[in-house]
């Protein structure tokens, strides 16, 4: 037989809230974790109806639930357990995971509730969800933008030449002594179509150029931590070690955090892929600073990138990955350049993994001045 005081010390040691009620819903036992969770002391809570701890809508129904269960045995929560919303003494709502058991005792039917505080978990999940959805949106928008910009840029030269050749050809066709009307019509049509292609390219470019980076002060260490977390969450296995060696949480930088996050997540994710089949699976993010720039380095323990790969690494549509368009690095570099920085890869070294360096100017005004002088 366990003594009552022993039982109470067990109850009070429990991390989770534990409540015992009788079949009238009156609180019999209310442990210390509950006091922290709900704000009521044990003295205040014991003897009250347990609906004291529920939001009004549920509280009004709760006595009915118990009666119904006792009559029909139709369980809503007993033996099942689920997430419910509880109410703190100050009125705020608290998400809790509730599991309920029951016992027949000498003094009647009793229900035992165990409550786990989900607030920290919820906040964490919410924060990650927001981060992820921002990133997904930005990645999509940027991928489209960059594809647009890449196409616009690549197609520009041949299109310009084509247009001028056609216009010159059309003029020649007109200038001959016996103009071939059918030929002239065809040439004119071709010019119109080339012009149409040019307009499409221009529209695409205008769309892309409207999006300038939104720079605000951002804690760099937190931003890096967030990126690592985002990548960890997306990993199928957790045997890759992702670490940041930068812990200066007071260091702030003017940048478009979502865009920079996109670059880093892209780099860290790539690095994670590169170490998948390696004996040591590690990705390290480190930061170096000088007077004008911040260098964020992503280093992996992969096989490294030889010169051949490096030479076309940042060009769109040339990736070696089977998934995706291979425009990730091209996008990342142009975002970095939009910030007045750059994205580079360290030269290949036998036996070492790859290191990508994201350079960001400490002060974009100072940088543009320096560039104007050069």
């Amino acid at each position: 037989m366990v003594s009552s005081s022993c039982l109470h010390s067990v109850l009070d040691t429990a991390v989770n809230g534990i409540i015992i009620i009788d079949d009238n819903a009156t609180i019999q036992v209310y442990n210390r974790a509950c006091e922290n969770l709900f704000g009521y002391t044990s003295e205040e809570a014991v003897g009250q109806n347990v609906n004291l701890l529920m939001p009004d809508a549920v509280a009004a129904q709760h006595d009915g639930y118990i009666q119904k269960y006792l009559k029909s045995g139709d369980a809503r929560v007993v033996g099942i357990g689920r997430e419910v919303v509880a109410r703190h003494k100050d009125g705020t709502q608290i998400p809790v995971e509730l599991s309920v058991g029951e016992a027949q005792t000498e003094s009647g039917h009793q229900f035992i509730g165990v409550l786990k505080d989900l607030r920290a978990t919820k906040e964490y999940e919410e924060r990650l969800r927001v981060l992820q959805s921002n990133l997904v949106t930005m990645t999509r928008v940027n991928a489209l933008d960059e594809m647009g910009a890449a196409i616009a840029h690549e197609v520009n030269q041949p299109l310009t030449a084509l247009m001028l050749y056609l216009q010159t050809g059309a003029r020649r066709a007109r200038a001959t002594e016996q103009p071939d009307e059918a030929m002239i019509t065809l040439m004119d049509k071709a010019v119109t179509e080339a012009a149409r292609a040019g307009q499409i390219i221009q529209r695409m470019r205008n769309f892309v150029e409207r999006q300038a980076p939104q720079c605000i002060g951002t804690g760099l260490a937190t931003l890096i931590d967030d990126c690592l977390e985002l990548v960890r969450v997306g990993q199928e296995t957790d045997d890759v070690e992702f670490v940041s060696s930068f812990v200066d949480y007071n260091y702030h930088l003017e940048l478009d955090s979502v865009q920079i996050q996109q670059i880093l997540v892209n780099l860290i994710r790539n690095a994670g892929e590169a170490v998948k089949d390696r004996p040591v699976k590690k990705v390290v993010v480190s930061v170096e600073r000088d007077e004008e720039n911040v260098f964020v380095k992503v280093t992996d323990t992969g096989a490294g990138l030889d010169e051949d790969v490096v030479s076309h690494l940042f060009k769109a549509f040339t990736g070696t990955k089977r998934r995706g368009l291979g425009i990730g690095l091209a996008i990342s570099r142009s975002i970095a350049q939009n910030h007045g920085g750059d994205l580079t890869v360290e030269p290949y070294e036998e036996g070492k993994g790859a290191t990508f360096t994201l350079r960001l100017p400490v002060n974009s005004k100072a940088t543009s001045k320096a560039e104007a002088v050069v």
Binding site: H153, N156, A161, Q167, E209, A212, A372
Partner: protein, 111 residues
């Protein structure tokens, strides 16, 4: 005389042939260095300069040409995104810019 400094072979050829077909005399160069070495532009000439050139940057070439005693009219051509062009602007001193893709009218306006 019309000068063209453009690194893309096809674009350079197309521009040159377009001017030739209008009986305008022109000379084309693949980079700024060869232009500075071989051309002697005068006040009444026009020089089209692509901003994206190997070696001497287009904006630097423009700066040098504009500083000549009898500086010709200079027109910049660019297929670059706006932010890259904007970066070059301080050196270009209000030089007009024609953006690719372009039509013959875009160039003929200046000759």
């Amino acid at each position: 005389m019309i000068y063209i400094v453009e690194d893309d072979v096809s674009v350079r050829d197309a521009i040159a042939r377009m001017f030739e077909s209008l009986d305008l005399s022109c000379a084309a160069f693949a980079d700024g260095e060869s232009f500075l070495a071989d051309a002697s532009p005068r006040l009444e000439d026009t020089v089209f300069v692509d901003l994206h050139l190997p070696g001497l940057a287009g904006s630097d070439l423009i700066e040098k040409v504009a500083a000549l005693d009898e500086a010709p009219q200079i027109v910049a051509i660019s297929g670059q995104p706006l932010w890259k062009i904007t970066r070059e602007l301080p050196k270009m001193n209000a030089t007009p810019i024609v953006r690719k893709p372009l039509k013959e009218q875009d160039l003929l306006t200046y000759v």
